[in-house]
Each structure stands twice: as C-alpha cells, then as structure tokens.
C-alpha cells in the first residue's frame, strides 16, 4: 500500500507540522457534514488563530442534508452546498474531500486516511454523523434496494426510478414520509410499509396517525401498517416484499428508512467510549473520553441519547468551539426534539411530550375528520402548563405552542380555547409577550427572543431584513420568520414606536390612507404623490404600490407611467429566468375557439416560444425576447385577443367548469357566468392578484372555493364564497351568501372587490386581508351584504367607473409606436442580448439553468 511517494509526503508533512505547531494549534475535523461545517463556520468567526483541516468522506463539500429532497424537485447539487469550496479557501481551511479517516493514533495525536495521508492534531473533532440503518433482511443486497441519506443515494434512486413504475418505503417515520413524497414526485406508485401500528410512532398518537394516513392516501400513497417485512424477494433485482402475515407486495424499488446508526466505528477502533446502542459518548462539554477529542452532531451520544436533528448538532458545535477557544460559558444540556414535518404538503407537528409519557398530564383533543385536522395538547395535572402535543392538518400554532412548552409559560384560564375555534386577533401576540427573553425563536441559528429584542432596543434595527442580517435568524429553514416579525413589532411597540403599517421609508402612510389622499386630492402621478405626501426619491416598494393605487382609483392605463411599475407591469409581461418574458392572452373562462387556438400555435411557432397550459385554464407562451413583445402582441390583437394581465396585480382568470350546457349534473350555465365575470373585472388593478371561479354544481370541478371569490351554482341560484387562496398557505373560501340570483351575486362581488381594493395592505391577498380583519367574516358580511357602513352604493359606483374605463394595455402599445420604444435591449444598438441562452427540453426550448450553465456560457 505505502509507496515511497506517500511516505515521503508524510515525512514532509511531519516536518512542516512540527515547525508550524509552535505557532498555531491544529484542529482536525473528521466529517464534513452539516455539523462539521457549522463547527468550521463558528470557529473561524471566533478566531483566525487556528489551523483548521477537514477530512470528509463524501466527494463534495458539506451540503444541506435537511433539504436533500429538493434535489428531486430540480435543485442542482451545487445549490445545496452549505458553502462553496472557495469559502474554505478564503478562510484558510484545508478541505480534503473524498478522504476517509481510518485510524486515530491517540498517543501520537495523528490520524491516517484511507489513501495513506497522515496528519497531526492538537484537537480532534469527530463529526462523522450517522448512516442509514439497514435491517439484516434476507435479500437486502438485491438491485433496487436503496437508503436515503446522501446525494449519491438520491442520484442512484433517480437513475433506477426511470425504468420502473412502483416503489415502497420501509419505515413510516419523518424521513420515510419525506422519502415517500419524493417517490410520488418521481411519478411512482408509492407504498409506505411500517412495522408499528401507526405512522410516525415516536411523534404522534393513533388518532393523529389515522388522520395523517387519510391525508397521505389522498396524495396517492398506499400505507401498510403492522407489517413486518421478512424477505426481499427477487431474482438479482428486487421484485417485491414478503411480510410475516403471509402477504406479498409487488414493487420495483425499495427505499429503506428504518432509522439511523451513529458512525462510531472510527472512535470505537481507537478505544474511545462508545454507547452500547451506538454513538460516541460525550459529556456536557462535548468531550469524549479523550480530553483532546470532541464529538458533535449525529455521531455523538449525550445522556443515552442520539440527537437526529441539525439544531442540537449546531448547539454542540458551538459548545466545542467555546471549549477550544477557552470561552467556555456554554454547555450542552440536551435538546428539545420537537419536530415539524416539512415538504409533504401536510402540516404535522409534534412538540414537547406528545404522549404524556414523561409527566402525567391531561390531554385535550380536537378532531375534525371532515377537514382532516387533529390537535392534541397535553395540560399538566394542575392545569397550569402545556406539556406537549400534536398538530395535524393545521400546524400554524406550532411555534407558539412549542415556545409555551419550552418556556413553561402559564396557560390561559380556558386552555381548550387554544385549539377550539380560531384564535382571535391579537391573542397570538399576547402569547409572545409572555415569552421570556431566553426563548429560542430560531432553532437553526440559535437566536433567542432576547437577541432580537436587543437588536431593536440597542442597535436600532427596525426592519425584518435588518434582523435577518444581524442575527442570521430566518436564514436556515425560514420557519420562524412570522414569529421573528411579530417579536420585532412587539418590541417596537414596547419602545413607544407607533407601529403603523407605513409603506416604506418614503411614505408615513398606510396604503389605505394613501388611497384616500390620492382620491380626495385627485392626484394622478407618482411624483405628485411623493412631492405632497412623501420624502426622498421613492423606492422599489412604494413606486409599484402607488402605481397600483393610481391604477385602481383612476384606471388610467399603466403604460403612461412605465418607470414606476414593477418590471412586469412596465413591460406588460412576466420576466422569467434568463431575462425573457412570457405572453399570456386572456382566454375568458377557459373557453376558446379552434381558430384562436390556431393563432396561438402560429404565434408560438413563428417566435419559437415554449407553450404550456397553465393552472388558470389558459395558455402561456414563454421565452419571448423583450424586442419581440410588441410584434407578438400585434399578431394576437389582430386575431381578437386581449392582454391576460398575467403580469399585473390584477384579475387573472375566472376558471369555469363546463356546466349545465354539457354536463349531466350541471344546474346552471357556469361557463357563461365565468366569461361574464372575467370580462367585467379584467384589467382592474388591486393590492394583489385576484382569481375567481364558477362551478356548475356542488361537485365543484372549477375549484371555486380556493379562489378570492368563488361561485357555485345551486338549484335556486348561486352561492358566493370569498377569501379563498391556493399558494403556500391554502385556505378555503368562506360562504358569504347562498342561493342569490345572478344580478345580486355580481353586485355583491362588486362591493367585495372594491372594499378590498380600498382597504387592503399592498401585496395582501383577500384571504390574508380577511384573516386580519377585526370581526372577520361576520363583519365583512355586515358591510357587504347588510351595508352596515352605508357605503354599498358608493362601492358599486366606484366599481362601475373603473369598469367603464377599461382599455387593453397591449392594444395601446401596439397602436402607439412611441410606447414601443422601450422594448429594446440596448438603447444604442439594435442588437439583441447575446447572453440569452436556451436548451432543448422535450422538443421545446427552455432557458439554461440559473447558475452553473449560465455562468459557463458567460465564460
């Protein structure tokens, strides 16, 4: 093995090392995973007095394992890196990847790698993490059996998946469910096989599991609980699983996610104390049984426990850094293992003691099978504290409850109100107020409530951006962002700052106040508004916000003030990856004639545009160069199309189902009504985009209840729903009125939209606006239906006026050569942008990827 070159190299290293070691302490980190990386980051931030050398077995620098599944949804491996290689260079860290440490000589204080490299340390940090546990089953060696731990694993899974149709995941825990979602994303028929009688047995109870199972089944995952796998059948490659109960499941691939095993083999071989169930034993200083060796992250065992999450690993890294640098005011004292399931699209949270196992307590349970929501909170026997609990289907209170447990906050007199009925406005803030300063808000970066408050109080940081920059809070998983924002506001308020929802530093008014000012003073331009009511020169926040107000109030074409519009409104098209634009003509209600379809095809062909049917029942053409836009639209407008306002904060689409004309169940003509509504509100500028839908009967094929306003036909008329939303926080719309006739329905939508346009904050969808409204739906109904404020007539008139002023913006541009001037990439040349680059995907064009390819192209 040892050739002379290596020996000579080692000799040299030793010489150099002996000399150097007088100057700087050598810290060797074994393992370049998330925690090993964090250690480096923390140590270099602390001091540059150390020589840091990292050995990692994997071929690439540390990456974000927590978001590993993003690799399936298109993230490149490079996007997942914790830091690029250059970061290590800049910080003088010697990083050796693809290098497995095989021996520690604790007497000489050296390590040896598989390729024969020898290195000396003053302190050794073991951050070797863990590996997936693979049960000793008959047939595990077959082709098609994988684990889910590294980028390489995922690469192999992806490759294998391309030729098959089904997969099973063994293990229904957190990781298993995440893997199952990935299988669905790979378009495989997906099964989850769990040995216990419920899913996530360590986090949730039977009742919770049954609701979760129901939801997963809805995603297309088949769940098998109470299944002990006895054999992996097949012939070379896997063909199916045999279970102890005699049943058989035919699948093409198996992903094992049956737990983790700490990687303690190196520690064990060198005589360090390891735990009987695996893991390197450490004390509260993260020190192993050798005073010069520390272990951190998933390879370590503290108090008989392996911590399989990043946050405790980061905490250990901090403790180890403090030990080495001599600061030493922090010790590791265990860690709360509360978790929230991410990714799968179903809220699942488990916090504190979810089963009343540690302390006796009384559970309060709310179960709503219809909406698939299950909430359990465990109250201490004296009724004073929250011990833990489970949230399924709606984990929006997870952060708050978790903090209540961690900080032993006193419970309100009627703790059941925490989970029955939605919390009333303001109550969540009150909960925050009672949190002690030590409460950890951002677990990833270990930022406490006190840290945030201190930034506000002493360092005058007054914006969320500022807090993110100075504390790093919200920069990990981002889950704490709403809480951090609330704490920021709370602290500002406590300092006597009136926390007014002002637009930005240039306007001391809320959007609603500006609406009134613009209207009363009849202001028509941004400059006039800024001169009269603002300071400074404006910015990317207030310009589009005021532009939207001007458009809502006067409905003058936005093309008259292009430079205050967001880029999409300026060029009347959505800017896309790579800098090209998309083109979406209006196809009201999703109804289109064959002739018009042919025109779209012709346009797309002529300009080589990528075409796709959108989620809004129309057709999007992507990849148009800016200079092509006027010509494209000219063709479309000649054929009778209009702008679809896909770029604006304005009405998008009214989806329809085919309705009574064709459908045997339909009770009203939903298509006709959808087209009518879409044409009525097209072009109206609003605080955020607006979407609607009309369904022809209660089967609801148009998904009207997920829209800002949705209409469902009944035998007697129409039901009107408002405040629905898709997006990342989906919410069903609420029933405003039922069985009204079409005219009444339209009148009510007029009022609803105008009330929203007048009073909502910028970029607030109707759902959020309604959620925040004092009095909620009842109040809204009073204003809109019962006219409690006496403004109904006025709202209707204002709406009528805007509708009368409608003009297609693109028609204006097409008719006016002057307005076409700005559609040029260069002001001093007719050339096009030479950095645009495309690839071919499934027979159509696509932009090159964000980073890697594009940068190559620029080379």
């Amino acid at each position: 093995m040892f050739n002379t070159a290596v020996t000579a190299y080692n000799y040299l290293i030793n010489e150099v090392l002996v000399l150097k070691s007088f100057a700087m302490k050598r810290i060797i980190v074994v393992g370049n995973g998330m925690v090993g990386y964090k250690f480096c980051e923390k140590l270099t931030a602390h001091s540059k007095e150390y020589n840091i050398i990292v050995y990692g077995e994997e071929p690439r620098p540390a990456y974000d394992r927590v978001h590993l599944s993003a690799f399936f949804s298109g993230s490149a491996a490079d996007d997942l890196l914790m830091a690029p290689r250059s970061w290590y260079e800049e910080n003088d860290i010697a990083l050796h990847t693809g290098e497995l440490v095989t021996e520690i000589n604790r007497v000489e204080k050296t390590i040896l790698t598989h390729s024969g490299k020898k290195d000396h340390y003053d302190y050794l940090i073991l951050a070797t993490g863990s590996s997936a546990f693979v049960p000793k089953l008959d047939g595990v060696e077959r082709n098609g059996v994988f684990v889910y731990r590294t980028i390489e694993d995922l690469n192999q899974i992806k490759e294998y998946a391309s030729g098959i149709s089904s997969a099973a995941v063994m293990g229904g825990g957190l990781l298993g469910l995440e893997a199952a979602k990935a299988m669905i994303d790979l378009n495989l028929e997906t099964h989850v096989v769990e040995f216990a009688q419920r899913l996530m047995p360590r986090q949730i109870d039977d009742a919770g599991s049954s609701i979760l199972m129901h939801k997963l089944t809805g995603l297309g995952i088949t769940i098998h609980t109470n299944k002990a796998t006895t054999k992996i059948e097949g012939n070379g490659k896997l063909e199916g699983l045999a279970f102890a109960d005699g049943t058989f499941l035919k699948v093409d691939m198996l992903v094992i996610s049956a737990g983790i095993r700490p990687r303690d083999e190196l520690a064990k071989a060198s005589g360090l104390n390891v735990h009987a169930r695996g893991g390197i034993v450490i004390n509260e200083y993260t020190r192993t049984s050798d005073e010069f060796i520390y272990a951190i992250g998933e390879s370590a065992v503290f108090n008989n426990m392996v911590y399989g999450l990043v946050a405790p690993g980061y905490e250990m890294a901090e403790v180890a850094v403090q030990q080495i640098t001599g600061e030493r005011d922090k010790t590791f004292a265990g860690f709360d293992m509360s978790t929230k399931l991410k990714l799968i699209g179903i809220d699942v949270g488990s916090f504190g003691d979810p089963f009343c196992e540690i302390t006796a307590g009384v559970p309060i349970i709310m179960q709503d099978r219809r909406n698939g929501v299950y909430k359990r909170i465990n109250i201490s026997e004296d009724g004073k504290h929250l011990l833990g609990g489970i949230l399924i289907g709606d984990a929006s209170q997870y952060n708050l409850f978790h903090q209540m447990v961690v900080n032993k906050m006193p419970l309100p007199a009627q703790p059941e109100m925490l989970i029955f009925g939605s919390p009333r406005k303001g109550e969540e803030g009150a909960g925050l107020k009672d949190l002690p300063d030590s409460a950890q808000i951002c677990a990833c970066e270990n930022v406490s409530k006190g840290d945030i408050a201190c930034q506000v109080r002493d360092k005058m940081v007054t914006t969320l951006e500022g807090i993110k920059k100075s504390t790093k809070a919200c920069t990990g998983c981002g889950g704490c962002t709403p809480m951090v924002n609330d704490i920021l506001k709370l602290t500002l308020e406590s300092l006597g700052h009136k926390v007014k929802k002002t637009l930005c530093q240039h306007f001391d008014y809320s959007r609603q106040e500006l609406f009134d000012l613009i209207k009363i003073k009849e202001l028509k331009t941004y400059d006039a508004v800024l001169d009269l009511h603002g300071i400074g020169d404006g910015c990317e926040v207030c310009k589009p916000a005021v532009a939207s107000l001007l458009a809502s109030i006067w409905n003058e074409p936005i093309v008259s003030q292009p430079v205050i519009q967001d880029t999409n409104d300026r060029f009347l098209a959505n800017i896309q990856k790579g800098g090209t634009y998309s083109v979406v003509p209006r196809i009201a209600g999703g109804e289109i004639t064959p002739e018009k379809l042919i025109v779209i095809g012709r346009v797309a062909k002529r300009f080589n545009l990528y075409t796709k049917i959108t989620g809004g029942q129309r057709i999007d053409m992507f990849g148009a160069r800016m200079d092509q836009l006027p010509e494209i639209w000219e063709m479309l407008i000649d054929a009778g199309f209009e702008s679809g306002h896909a770029y604006g904060k304005s009405l998008r689409t009214i989806k329809s189902c085919v309705g009574s004309t064709w459908c045997r169940f339909g009770v009203q003509d939903s298509v006709a009504y959808a087209i009518f509504i879409e044409n009525r509100y097209k072009g109206i500028r609003s605080p955020h985009k607006l979407k609607g839908a009309v369904s022809g009967c209660i089967r609801e094929c148009a998904e009207a209840q997920s829209k800002d306003f949705g209409i469902i036909a009944t035998e007697k008329g129409w039901n009107l729903y408002v405040g629905g939303n898709g997006g990342s926080r989906p919410q069903h719309a609420k029933l405003l009125v039922n069985d009204v006739d079409m005219d009444t329905c339209t009148k009510l939508i007029d009022r609803f939209l105008m009330f929203y346009i007048r009073t909502a904050d910028p970029l607030t969808r109707t759902a959020t606006w309604l959620n925040k409204m004092e009095g909620g739906l009842e109040y809204l109904r009073d204003v809109i239906v019962n006219d409690s404020l006496g403004i109904a007539q006025q709202l209707e008139n204002e709406m009528e006026e805007i509708i009368q002023n409608y003009e297609c913006e693109w028609k204006k541009v097409v008719d006016n050569p002057e307005l076409q001037q700005q559609y040029k990439h260069f002001i001093n040349s007719e050339e096009i942008d030479s950095t645009l680059s495309f690839v071919e995907t499934r027979g159509q064009k696509a932009p090159s990827d964000w980073n890697p390819i594009r940068q190559n192209k620029l080379k």
Partner: protein, 127 residues
C-alpha cells in the same frame, strides 16, 4: 466569470484613469427616472436618468445574484438619501454611488462615471 473580470478591467478607480469617454446616446432617449441598457464593446452597462435628483448613474447591467442581465430594467429610488437600483428579479438593491449591495450580501457591482455634453451621455472607462 470572464465577464466580471472584463467589467473590472474597464472600470475606473478615480477620474484620473478614465481613458475613454464613450458617447452612449442622446440624453432625451433615456426615460425620466428610469434606466436603459448601453452596449459598449462586449459589455452591457445600465444607465439611469435620475431626473428627480438631476443626477445620472451608470453601473454594470449584470446582477451578481443569479447572473441576470437585468439591472437597467430595475426600479430606482433612494435609501436614506443614497441612490439605489433594485434588481427586477429578486429585488436585491445596490447603491448607484458605491455599487455596494444594500439589502443582502451580494458582491459589489461596478459603477462607472458619466458626463453630459451637448445633449449626449458619455460613460467613462479605463479602456
């Protein structure tokens, strides 16, 4: 990356090392309080007519965040009186005076001196 190096090669550190005053376009061609993109050799330069302040600025058109040729299409404004431009893609903002990123930790962008003569805008380059 060469593009970035090239940008650096052409930028000037002080008014002394301006060797080329490039005649870009008529001042009236630029939108008021907005930007446009100028082609100079292989480079794309974003030029802003900040008429509200009576000032002109030039910087690289390339946004360092995701390497998009986009800054000339961004909204301009001020942050505590410092003139800035916001990239249309993800709203990273950059000072038009120093090129520094103001709301994130992106690389600094190159800024270039400008002058107006006889109704034309000129941009100063080192070469």
């Amino acid at each position: 990356m060469e593009l970035l190096n090239e940008l650096k090669m052409h930028s000037v550190s002080s008014t002394d090392n301006i060797n080329v005053w490039f005649k870009a376009a008529r001042t009236t061609d630029f939108p008021e309080n907005g930007g446009a993109c100028v082609k100079y050799k292989g480079l794309q330069i974003a030029v802003f007519n900040f008429s509200r302040r009576g000032e002109w600025y030039a910087c690289q058109n390339l946004c360092p965040h995701k390497m998009q040729m986009a800054l000339s299409r961004g909204l301009i404004g001020s942050h505590n009186n410092e003139p800035k431009v916001a990239c249309p893609f993800h709203k990273k903002t950059f000072s038009l005076q120093t090129g520094e990123c103001l709301n994130a930790e992106e690389e600094k962008i190159a800024v270039f001196p400008v002058k107006i003569e006889d109704g034309f805008l000129y941009i100063g380059f080192a070469r």
